[in-house]
């Protein structure tokens, strides 16, 4: 067997679910490598997770300041070379702000923060992070965000739909997202961003299901076989 894959988990000031992402990475069988926002360095990791939280307080716009950090610069260029990148919640917002994924996440339609166990459908299994799911699988993963409503101009939304770049979709939309979009992928499928938190669905004791573990397992499968 090859050496254990190493997956980086970024910590920005104000990251909150970084410990949880690292726990999920370990639960999936990889080594979690902490990455610090201020270091222009990916420490040779095989994939990167941008975790949830409120980077820099998210006072201006979620993810707006974090995307300028040295580590995100490195991630943007590594992603263009195929590095698998998963952005969860605030991480998704950072990916959109940095231009790795199109569109933006705005205030929830109900104007409240929403924390609930969310039913989702996996729409695309041709990504580095969803390959172990069955296409169309219905899963339950928590959402918890105040600014999670996905929006983009019509042309972008049409293109996402036409190319099958919607990765996961809400079954009962918690935030008013366009076309029930919960998460999207880039064209080559190495970059995925989603609002729900797979790292909080890895153990039935502490989450509503173990459906989230599959996301971390997917990228491992790809890394080990690569």
């Amino acid at each position: 067997m090859a050496t254990t894959p190493r997956i980086g988990v970024v910590t920005f000031p104000g990251s909150l679910d970084d410990r949880d992402a690292a726990r999920a990475v370990r639960a999936a069988g990889a080594e979690a490598v902490p990455l610090w926002h201020g270091d222009a360095e990916l420490r040779g990791v095989d994939a990167v997770v941008l975790p949830g939280g409120f980077s820099y307080g998210d006072y201006l716009r979620a993810g707006a300041i974090a995307r300028f950090s040295p580590v995100v610069n490195e991630i943007v260029s590594a992603a263009s070379r195929g590095l698998p990148v998963l952005g969860i919640c605030n991480g998704f917002q950072v990916l959109c702000e940095s231009g790795l994924l199109p569109g933006a996440l705005i205030r929830n339609a109900g104007l409240h923060f929403v924390c609930r166990d969310q039913r989702l459908r996996v729409e695309s299994v041709t990504t580095r992070w969803t390959s172990d799911y069955d296409e169309g699988a219905e899963i339950v993963i928590p959402v918890k965000h105040g600014e999670g409503r996905y929006v983009a101009d019509q042309a972008t939304v049409d293109a996402l739909e036409a190319d099958g770049r919607v990765a996961v979709r809400y079954l009962d939309n918690p935030n008013g997202a366009t076309n029930d979009i919960a998460g999207i992928r880039n064209e080559s499928g190495n970059v995925v961003g989603l609002m729900p938190h797979p790292e909080h669905a890895i153990d039935p004791l502490t989450g509503p299901s173990t459906d989230g573990l599959t996301m971390f397992g997917s990228v491992l499968g790809a890394l080990v076989s690569a």
Partner: protein, 754 residues
């Protein structure tokens, strides 16, 4: 700087007229200050004494009553740090300890609900951090006026968003709490926030400044004119003159509201935890009420010498602040650390890493004076203990308002119209289920992150929050926060005990072993002998009940002056109970988990409807006496549930409290999504709605073993039905589908508060 009052000026001008009365100090208190100092105080000293000797900081009205918690505590070998520190610390085994405390932020939340509630969370989290602990969860206990009253929506929306906004941004799961409505809170909502943290025994930090030469470092937010005088009555014109030193151009603008900055608090927490981990501090204190006045005098007083502070070093948000303003500012998100000189650079480097502003503002000195300078001039030179520990203590007059209480206790609800027919009973269950008092709290709790940190094993809507303490451990804690102002209004002694009993029972229902108590005592004005009587009764009741349950009070908070005009709120002791669990995988949920299990009612039911939710919700009636307190039965019940849960003999447990058996069944069905069929003994109305205490329902596959266990422990046990189906059926009476119950329960708060 010429118009700053200094110690040398005080000597030259000993008879200067000082606005001590406006600052809330009495004649004899002012005389005592002069005696302590051997001269008149400087303006800055006067302001310091006034905030430190205020009710909020000195506990001058409550101290004589709170003593009973510490003096004759229940036998417990779990207490590591008791009353008197920022928060109590409890040993939970495996070398781990837990610290927890509840605190009020009532008055600020009425003025600005979002920021008031937000900064309430911020403050209690810093108290926990100060003990050297990593904060791991928060809870909140809220009271508002009538749900339909005009101002309630503003308050509920703002407070809930503020608790969520701050706690979510800190990355602390909110694992429970309570929401109540009653007209007595209309002009004075209650916002009580609890935080719990975990530490290893050896990581305990204390708020003390020891070792002459050690440096005093201020960490965190810049200091602004926030909350100056917030803890006493300093917002007077005379004080403005004092603040402005007489010569400044007009009164300065002082914010009436403090804005929380949870991001700054989050990095402050992470930074402090790294500093603790590296062993770089010898003492640490958060800045809360009375700001630097409190933090410097308390740490110096609890240390072994004095302290010297160069106040002009404090980084300011507004350059024009006077020394008095800097010392009494209550700007949030700040900590004071005592650091050995050789460690200062390392501390500053960690602060730089996290982007936390850190400044050396002084040092620990030989001797026993707290000396504060401002651009070289001495503005304070006082014994720190005189500020922190030797404040006035009052034995306030206490008088039971006999006429009012006798009338209230006589006004029983015996003659209230009761539901009799099956249809009336069915309607009553639905009305109660949909009432703001008893309906689903989902609209509130969905605004709180309950998952972050990955340790939450149970949270809302279960009876208590349960958190695993570490990834590599099965050990966990359970916490519940309860209060019942209506019971306490009818009988404050029993009311405090009933609040404790309910929180204790909630913790026990998760399968945890209740260990320790924190309390937030929300009352009206201590200057009203009737209120003081309620307070005296409540503390006496709580202390006695804690002894009987074997759960010491580890700390808490008193909030007085909760009233609108002359009308006090219902006295509202809010009690937090902490329990431990060896294996969180054995936690018991509050909902049914499987069909075809036996439902057993544990505990005895009497006809006890005065003070009940039924009387209030259906008749707006409050009178008579609250249900009987049965502490030994509570203990036995907790033991039975704990043993049965540990032996996996039961699959769930849900306590009976507000709304009695009816509401307990509705909730157990809705939480689990599984119906139930039950058969009631005796008067079905009493069986459904009585609020006799020391009761719970449990479900089991092994009723025989449960009956045996209950019998051995003298806990009455009665088989009342079976789980299953998609309705709640009461045999021979009525049936309500789960979807009808769910609609009734879930739609109330969204339609009221959107």
């Amino acid at each position: 700087m010429t118009d700053i009052d200094t110690v040398s000026l005080a000597a030259q001008d000993p008879d200067k007229n000082q606005p001590y009365l406006e600052l809330g100090l009495k004649d004899d208190e002012y005389e005592r200050i002069r005696e302590i100092l051997g001269r008149r105080p400087t303006d800055t000293e006067l302001a310091m004494y006034s905030v430190m000797w205020s009710e909020h900081c000195s506990y001058k009205s409550s101290k004589v009553h709170l003593r009973q918690f510490g003096e004759d505590p229940p036998a417990s070998d779990a207490m590591l740090v008791g009353m008197g520190e920022n928060a109590g610390v409890v040993d939970v085994g495996d070398g781990l300890a837990v610290t927890f405390k509840v605190e009020s932020h009532n008055h600020p939340s009425y003025v600005e609900p979002y920021q008031g509630a937000a900064t309430g969370v911020g403050g209690i989290v810093r108290d926990i951090l100060t003990m050297g602990a990593r904060p791991i969860a928060v809870m909140d206990s809220l009271r508002f006026g009538d749900a339909a009253a005009p101002d309630t929506k503003r308050l509920v929306s703002g407070v809930v968003a503020g608790i969520g906004g701050y706690g979510n941004c800190l990355g602390l799961p909110n694992i429970g709490g309570e929401v109540g409505f009653d007209p007595s809170y209309a002009g004075n909502p209650l916002v009580n926030a609890l935080c719990v943290g975990v530490l290893r025994h050896e990581d305990l930090q204390l708020a003390q400044a020891k070792g002459a030469g050690n440096q005093v470092v201020l960490l965190g937010a810049l200091t602004g004119r926030d909350g100056i005088g917030g803890v006493s009555v300093l917002a007077s014109a005379t004080f403005d003159d004092a603040v402005d030193g007489g010569g400044a151009a007009g009164p300065s603008k002082r914010p009436s509201v403090q804005v929380g900055d949870p991001f700054t608090e989050k990095i402050l927490i992470e930074c402090c935890l790294e500093i603790f981990q590296a062993g770089l501090v010898t003492g640490i204190q958060d800045l809360g009420g009375a700001g630097l006045s409190c933090a410097t005098s308390e740490t110096a007083s609890h240390g072994d010498g004095g302290m010297r502070v160069a106040l002009d070093k404090v980084p300011l948000r507004e350059a024009s602040m006077s020394p008095l303003e800097v010392l009494t500012s209550e700007s949030q998100e700040r900590m004071l650390a005592i650091v050995e000189p050789s460690n200062v650079d390392a501390v500053l480097a960690l602060c730089q890493k996290w982007g936390v502003v850190a400044t050396v503002i002084g040092e620990v000195t030989e001797g026993d004076r707290l000396v504060v300078t401002w651009h070289g001039e001495t503005v304070v030179d006082a014994p720190p203990g005189s500020l922190a520990d030797d404040g006035p203590v009052y034995q306030r007059p206490v008088a039971r308002p006999d006429d009012e209480m006798d009338a209230l206790n006589a006004a029983t609800g015996a003659r209230l119209a009761r539901p009799v027919t099956s249809n009336q009973l069915r309607d009553a269950v639905l009305v109660m289920t949909a009432s703001p008092e008893l309906c689903s709290r989902r609209w509130v709790t969905e605004q709180y992150d309950r998952y972050v940190l990955g340790g939450t094993v149970l949270a809302m809507p279960h009876d208590a929050g349960v958190v695993r303490l570490a990834d590599d451990s099965t050990r966990g804690i359970a916490l519940a926060l309860d209060g019942n102002g209506r019971f306490a209004k009818l009988d404050p002694y029993a009311g405090a005990q009933l609040a404790l009993a309910e929180a204790y029972r909630n913790v026990a229902c998760t399968g945890a072993r209740p260990l320790a108590v924190t309390d937030c005592l929300n009352f009206g004005s201590p200057e009203d002998p009737a209120v003081m009587w309620q307070f005296a009764e409540a503390t006496r009741g709580l202390a006695a009940a804690c002894r009987e349950l074997g759960t010491p009070v580890t700390g808490g908070n008193v909030s007085f002056y909760n009233q609108t005009g002359a009308t006090a709120i219902n006295p509202t002791p809010v009690i937090g109970v902490l329990g431990v669990m060896d294996n969180v995988a054995r936690r018991l949920p509050s909902g049914f988990t499987a069909a075809d299990q036996a439902i057993v009612l544990l505990g005895a039911t009497d006809e006890e409807l005065d003070g009940s939710a039924w009387s209030w919700v259906t008749h707006r009636h409050l009178g008579g006496r609250p249900p009987t307190v049965r502490l030994s039965s509570e203990r036995a019940l907790a033991w039975v549930i704990g043993s049965a849960g540990d032996g996996q003999a039961i699959t769930m447990a849900h306590d009976l409290s507000e709304g009695g058996l009816a509401i307990a069944l509705v909730e157990a069905c809705l939480i689990g999504g599984i119906g139930a069929t039950v058969t009631l003994d005796g008067d079905p109305f009493v069986a459904l709605f009585s609020e006799s205490t020391a009761r719970a329902i449990v479900a089991t596959d092994d009723a025989e073993m449960l009956f045996e266990l209950a019998g051995v422990n003298d806990v009455p046990a009665q088989l009342i039905g079976t789980t299953g189906g998609d309705a709640l059926s009461v045999a021979g009476q009525f049936e309500i589908t789960l979807s009808e119950l769910r609609d009734a329960s879930e739609s109330t708060l969204p339609s009221l508060f959107g």
